[in-house]
Amino acid sequence: MDKVLKKELMIIANRIRKHALLAVYSANSGHPGGSLSISDILAVLYFKQMKNLDPKNPKNPDRDRLVLSKGHCAPALYGALAEKGFFPKEDISSFRQAHSYLQGHPDMKGVPGVDMSTGSLGQGISAACGMAIAGKLANKDYRVYAILGDGELEEGQVWEAAMFAAQYKLDNLTAFVDFNNLQIDGKLCDVCSPLPIDKKFEAFNWHVITIDGHDVEQIDNAIEEAKTIKGKPTLILANCVKGKNVSFMENQPQWHGSAPNKEQYEAAVAEIDAIIKELEVM
């Protein structure tokens, strides 16, 4: 990957993190941990990979689509969409307020750029399958992306969708699993482990690629590889850190769904600003 582009994507990913933190802090509610863990993936998707996105025409029928199946991480999705120009960045601080269109979970009716309403875990991946098969039926060559949580894999519906995607050879579908090893009640292995994730998807006849979910180059390469795989959907198993880039949030289950206070918010932003600054002078 071109060095300039790589740096740019890394900066965007961290700007998405800042938007997500601002959203949750302003609302005093929301999910910072899982938002910080998918920011790099969103940066590569929205700023390098997804085609035919037009903020002036968000429902362009030929666009690539993204379903955030782990809908509680709307703060990161909204951050990416605002960066892309689908709506003003200033609106992010109205997240979850009664007067705002920025609903707590992605809302395709009200938020420009959101391709599917999600929030109930396990359903988004099925909707992504529907979009992918519709693309095949209509002879369109758009691609469909989905992002799932690793805890979300405990929903049986995910596996119904996995079977469906393989049966109908949905090679226009690429799903990410944010493998951050945490859900609400703790580590996956202490709740109801869905491991091994790679072997399960392989057994379900998916092409599986394992990457570092915070390395934009690896994310990009995996998506490129997925585009070359014919007759199968691809699963990108992204090793991620919940709360990535905010030291006191990293790997801490309590930051799944709680908002930072003013001090914590400022400390978090300072850490990310420092990362951005370092990238800028690189």
Partner: protein, 312 residues
């Protein structure tokens, strides 16, 4: 100001308290911190089972455990208990009439910021339509504690509806008596009856005060058990006051309002008006703001009462 406590807190406390006396098993689906089953888990870890994010599986596992003779509580948000797992509840729990108690927290619009996808406004309708299912929606901490005990003692499936939001404690622990299937008359009145459930009960009490200041005498009835519903208390109220307002944090279709309308139509029709969400989805916002936006306040109940009296 009254003490405030969310009924989900009461649920967790009740499980921990009655877990000493009764051999209950508690299941949760990765929400034990929110549903407060964590309180039970800390005290009785060997009788707590986390099934992960798999609500449908949880309901049928609960059915299997109950089939061996145990009393099982299965907990998650109302949206996923009544919504996601409806058919498992219907076929694995309701049909075989198994001893599963569904502890559903975060019901209604007062969930707040999570928004429409998490605000269950249909659960009473769904659960009420399953044969054998008892449906309880407690109004405060005291009633919630008592409801959990009643659910343990009842032989058969029970749906318990709890809230996320702290609500006033309106009943006195010393004197309060919970009778499954029996409404509670909170105050007498002769011009109109305000029949409420859950967090709308304190609003109905306030509405009666507003109306009293205008010379309107309103009877307030708390319906904690929506099914089986207390036909006698509703018919008596209709006969003696001639007009009825129902109030619930639920869609006006299928909930308490519908249940009361069914009773009145078949027994003693009088003008009635339903306060509830009017067949719309919720949205994100602070709970108090949303309750106002969706017309779920004492003022809205008082307005409905003035309207319904005109139709007498």
């Amino acid at each position: 100001m009254a003490n405030m406590k969310a009924t989900r807190e009461s649920y967790g406390e009740a499980l921990a308290k009655f877990g000493e006396e009764y051999d209950i098993v508690v299941l949760d689906a990765d929400l034990s911190k929110s549903t407060k089953t964590e309180t039970f888990k800390k005290k009785f870890p060997e009788r707590f089972i986390n099934v992960g994010i798999a609500e449908g599986n949880m309901m049928s596992v609960a059915a299997g455990i109950a089939s061996t003779g145990k009393v099982v509580f299965a907990s998650t948000f109302a949206m996923f208990a009544a919504g996601r797992a409806f058919e498992q509840v219907r076929n694995s729990i309701g049909y075989p009439n198994l001893n599963v108690k569904i502890g559903a927290t975060h019901a209604g619009i007062s969930v707040g910021e999570d928004g429409a996808s998490h605000q269950c406004l249909e659960d009473i309708a769904l659960m009420r339509s399953i044969p054998n299912m008892v449906v309880i929606n407690p109004a405060d901490h005291v009633e919630a504690m008592a409801a959990v005990k009643a659910a343990i003692l009842h032989d058969g499936p029970v749906y318990l509806r709890f809230g996320r939001l702290a609500v006033p404690v309106i009943f006195d622990e010393e004197t309060y008596k919970f009778e499954l299937g029996k409404g509670v008359q909170i105050s007498d009145g002769s011009d109109v009856s305000l029949i409420a459930t859950g967090l709308m009960v304190p609003e109905a009490i306030k509405a009666a005060e507003i109306l009293a200041s205008e010379g309107i005498s309103a009877r307030v009835i708390n319906i904690h058990t929506i099914k089986p519903i207390d036909v006698d208390i509703i018919v008596k109220a209709a006969r003696e006051t001639g007009a009825v307002v129902t109030a619930e944090e639920h869609n006006i279709i299928g909930g308490l309002g519908s249940a009361v309308a069914e009773v009145l139509c078949e027994n003693y029709p009088v003008p009635m008006q339903r306060v509830g969400t009017r067949d719309v989805f919720g949205r994100s916002g602070k709970p108090a703001e949303l309750l106002k936006m969706y017309n779920l306040t004492a003022d809205d109940i008082a307005n409905a009462a003035r309207e319904v009296i005109k139709r007498k």
